[in-house]
């Protein structure tokens, strides 16, 4: 019943990933964080579905947890 698509949907994933990397080149951490914040808001609105956003948040959090555990 997942509304969030986790299979690849990008025609050229490497190219899209590269676009994100390039957007951050030369930025300080603070500038990167500011850029990411804007991107998140823009993309959240484009998704346009609260349930999908919630699932995306859950997936992102889930993928962070092991990292946190090992660093403690």
């Amino acid at each position: 019943m997942s509304a969030l698509v986790t299979e690849n949907r990008l025609a050229d994933p490497d190219r899209s990933y590269r676009a994100l990397i390039e957007a951050h080149r030369g930025l300080s951490d603070e500038e990167s964080a500011a850029l990411n914040s804007r991107l998140v808001l823009i993309l959240a609105n484009h998704i346009g579905e609260h349930a999908v956003l919630q699932e995306a948040i859950a997936l992102a959090k889930q993928s962070i947890e092991p990292v946190k555990a090992t660093s403690e």
Partner: protein, 535 residues
Amino acid sequence: MNTRKILYQYGYSRCLDQDRASPARRPVIVIGAGPVGLCTAIDLAQRGIPVVLLDDADRIGEGSRGICYAKRTLEILDRLGVADPCLEKGVTWKIGKVFQNNDLLYAFDLLPEDGQKMPAFINLQQYYLEHALVERAAALPNLEIRWRNKVAGLKRRNDGATLTVETPEGLYDLDAEWVIAADGARSALRGMLGLVFQGEAFEDRFLIADVKMKGDFPPERWFWFDPPFHEGYSALLHKQPDDVWRIDLQLGRDADVKAEQAPERVIPRLRQMLGHDEFSLEWVSVYTFQCRRLERFVHGRVVFVGDAAHQVSPFGARGANSGIQDAENLAWKLAFVLKGEAPDSLIESYDVERSAAADENIAHSTRSTDFIAPRSAQELRFRNAALSLARHAPFAKRMVNSGRLSMPSTYETPLSTPDVDPWSGSARLGAPVPDAPMRDRSGRSIWLLEALRGEETILHVPNGVQPPPNGSRVLVLGADLIDEHGIFAQRFDARPGSTYLVRPDQHLAARWRHGTPSLIKGASRRLRGLEGGHA
């Protein structure tokens, strides 16, 4: 500095109940003569219930406090007979502007729709509202206000409660069938019942100042994020009557409450904001705020209303507005119960409906607070991202949150009879019905809400075939009410044969394309808690 002026002074006077050998028994005792207690008492008294209202003080008018009254509140106040003095004195506004630094991000208009008696909002110092309510209360023979009557003890019984009341002349006891606790955010009654007031406290401190000046600011709500005169924080400017301006300044987490209220600190800040120093300080206070509520608002025969039941941040004008809506929700139900026209259990629906409203208000005001006072570096980044995107993309403008202003709740309630027909228009089941300009039988202009008064009413559009329904009170469109401009038809999606059942608090309880007498009777019983999901 606190230049708190006492505006209206009332006197203690001894009452007969103090000399009785055994406690007098009263149907309803309301505790707390703030706007919510006064509205509850007046509404009950207008419905024929004798009310005693106790207040521990003997004056009103310490600080302007609540200043924004929303359309729905004004409609309620109109029914209680006090809207006229409030509208006359108040500043009517509907335009809000949001700035970042020096730039206007966007403006909003709160009442794009004409054809309603009441404006979107008025600003009015709370003491003017309280004064109007006290005057109205004095005109009701079955409402008695007792100043300097402080509740010192409460004993609950199955059929009511006994209150011990402290006066300048000593203690006396009073029996009540029902006790309404309208004694504010620091409710003593809550403490006497040992109830927990749960929720979230916010650390940011805000300076609130009332400034008197002849300014050329228009009567609009101006909100700044990160203004040049107060970098990194937020500010709000709002007009009140008597050339008084409400100023709210975010001070941050670590501000020194005492020092910030000193005139030598306040005046330079305000001078920077206003660009001149031709003003005088009327009132200054520093506050933090909480969003919290009682788990239940009804505890046997003790019912909590307003700030005593729930507390919100000031962003969005939800304190007094939601409290006055509590008062209206409770008054008609309690009047039905006391007159034997509904079971005691109807009061449970007050808990259901106003709990949901409180949750809605707390959610809105918490979200506004998150936006206005971000709590971490990343929260601040998101906030600033939304602000800067707002200049380029409409969606981000919609995210900017300087306070979502109070709207009445739409009740998901067992008292409503679910729709079976599809409906359009702005009328919604469970919500207050929209107002509309009408004419009465004699051709005089009358607003729909005036015609409804505070009574359960059936509105019926004849179709020339079926006879109009009969019920407690029926208004037939085209005969009792003339919909000259077709605004009623549009807002209610009315067609020949349409029938609407409106609750005594003017919320829509049921509607049919083809109502039968038994359907209408069932819905009327249901809104009294006599059948349906609630009996």
